[in-house]
Amino acid sequence: MGKAIIKVSALRKIYHVGEMTVHALRGVDLEIKQGDFAAIMGASGSGKSTMLNILGCLDLPTNGEYLLDGVNMAKLNKNQLAGLRNNKLGFIFQSYNLLPRTTALENVELPLFYNSKVGAKERKERAIHALEQVGLADRMDHMPNQLSGGQQQRVAIARSLVNDPVVILADEATGNLDTRTSYEIMELFQRLNDNGKTIVFVTHESDIARFMKRNIVFRDGRIQKELSVTDRFNASELIEALSPEDEYES
């Protein structure tokens, strides 16, 4: 394992909703190393979404320290956080969040528009390269409504790859997909991880978590337990094992 990409210590997050005080995170210590493929699991209300927001630099912790690729988050202002999201993070969402009536290529280009160092030509080249990585080079002129759910999620993955992030954060990335397509998406994730990408994947499905290397389970704002996955699923094998009937359905 390489250096630590994410290093979190004694992280707390307190929300004030009206007169109520919600302790979303009650002291979390976590380290994600380069090349990791970690699942963050837990029931709703366990704090995993809050954790993801903080890891994704969308939210700041109330207490505690968060180092992303050696940068201390607590010292950054809003614009610097945005810059960090642009340079170091890739987001994947459950509902894909592609821009409607915009081609796959333009959707993938989006993060690079906010990077003033990247010119128009390089932007397009990098977007095409990212689409090639997810196997959609032939669909780059398609609009999201002309693509299947799995294809849309692949476009979203390409978008998260295009700025070459240090870590990809996926939030229930297979939540809207059927079994077979989920496996295909997991196959893509496994391949990206094999090529060295660090991935943090939030899910509440334990069978999806078995595609990953580590499973971190949250409960009541704390890490309840952490498991190393021993009998890890291999997505390619599972797809082959699916019955032809399933194939027909998809």
């Binding site: 969308l58 999201r85 987001f91 409607p100 989006l110 528009f113 906010y114 003033s116």
Partner: protein
């Protein structure tokens, strides 16, 4: 974010919703279009009035008898007898800023030729009168100095009179017109001039030697008015002053006494008429301006709807690294693009309308470059002004909430 990226982002966002973008622009298109059309049509009508007035001679000076006071009683103008031929002679001899001068006496009545008659006016003047009032001879000649001295019964006739009393198409030259019982021989025909700026027919007249009208028809010794032309329009103020000085001396008016005559400049009437048309176009222009404002509010409305509708997009843009200022600039830019594009279409629209209108109203077509430049500026301002608030709202969104927005 650089300017090029910003433009690309904003244009792509607008292209995604072409029809809505068009509807949003419609308010601006109509607003700018009507402002441009109203101002240009107003300008065109002013120009056409000016041109018509210039036909009547903008350097023309009229001297009318003025108010007189006799033993404390104010007398009317109509029967004042303050102007005489001696005044004309004095001005002719002394004034440096006057080129042509003519006395005028006039009377109205029926002009008769054979079985035809027509109500018209006879103006008694000298030959210079035609130059002063910008009339030209189409056929025949104008009366001579000798004919004036001899009270000759000759006349020069306008087209309207000819049409009405020489209806059989005979050559009017050499014919006789009876006016107030006096036979006048037609020696010249005037070129057609058409209506003047106030809708008066300038061809409905007969011009005869002033001596003939003064003695034979009116039997008076004074004259009713003096017409003169200044060297140029610019010199007309100096000319008026000169005429006033000469007349005051001629009339032996003491210092401090009121003038018993009234000197007027044709250009003053031009100014009066054009100030009326200025006011009208200002009025119409401001009504059109209100519709421009309504168009701006339309943009703000749609931008608000757009911010709400695209909350998720805003969240996404923020999550991939868009800063608040980037989002603000995007929405502001969209609003400005909409209003400027609407402004350009509106300008074309307004120019087209004013072209068509002036074509059908027979007025000169004027392209108002200042109005176009101004509406362009106003449009950019409207875009920034009405786009600012929605853009602020968009940039202030919390990315987490925005992403979760359904």
């Amino acid at each position: 974010m650089n300017y090029k990226n910003l433009t690309k982002i904003a244009t792509t966002a607008l292209k995604r919703n072409k029809f809505r973008a068009f509807l949003t622009m419609l308010g601006i298109i109509i607003g700018v279009g009507s402002v441009i059309a109203m101002l240009s049509i107003g300008q065109a009508s002013k120009k056409s009035i000016r041109e018509e007035m210039a036909d009547m001679g903008t350097n023309m000076i009229m001297v009318m008898p003025g108010q007189q006071r006799r033993g404390g009683v104010m007398m009317g103008n109509s029967d004042a007898k303050s102007l005489t031929l001696k005044d004309v002679e004095a001005i002719k001899k002394e004034a440096k800023y006057i080129t042509d001068i003519s006395p005028q006496v006039s009377t109205s009545g029926q002009a008769v030729n054979g079985n035809n008659n027509w109500p018209t006016s006879v103006y008694g003047a000298n030959a210079a009168y035609l130059d002063i009032r910008k009339y030209e001879i189409e056929d025949g000649r104008v009366f001579t100095e000798k004919e004036i001295k001899s009270l000759a019964k000759v006349c020069v006739v306008g087209q309207t009179v000819i049409e009405n009393i020489f209806s059989d198409g005979k050559d009017p030259i050499g014919q006789t017109i009876r006016f107030a019982g006096i036979p006048l021989k037609v020696i010249g025909v005037l070129k057609e001039k058409g209506q003047n700026g106030m809708g008066m027919d300038q061809d409905d007249l007969i011009i005869a030697p002033y001596t003939s009208v003064q003695r034979r028809m009116l039997a008076i010794s004074h004259i009713q008015s003096i017409y003169a032309s200044a060297v140029s329009e610019e010199q007309s103020d100096a000319a008026i002053e000169e005429v006033e000085t000469i007349l005051r001396r001629q009339h032996q008016l003491k210092e401090g006494a009121d003038d018993d005559f009234d000197v007027r400049l044709q250009a003053e009437m031009v100014q009066m008429v054009s100030s009326v048309s200025d006011m009208l176009s200002l009025l119409l222009g401001s009504i059109a301006g209100i519709s421009l404002l309504v168009g701006g509010i339309g943009i703000m409305n749609i931008m608000f709807v757009s911010v709400t509708e695209r909350t998720k997009e805003i969240g996404l843009r923020m999550s991939v690294g868009g800063r608040g200022i980037d989002i603000l600039m995007q929405f502001l830019f969209e609003a400005v693009l909409l209003s400027i594009l609407g402004g350009i279409i509106g300008i074309l629209f307004g120019v087209a309308i004013s072209y068509i209108a002036t074509y059908f109203l027979n007025m000169p077509f004027v392209v108002m470059t200042q109005a176009i430049a101004l509406s362009f500026l106003v449009c950019s301002f409207i875009g920034i002004f009405f786009g600012w608030y929605p853009a602020r709202k968009a940039s202030g969104l919390n990315p987490i909430d925005a992403l979760r927005h359904e």
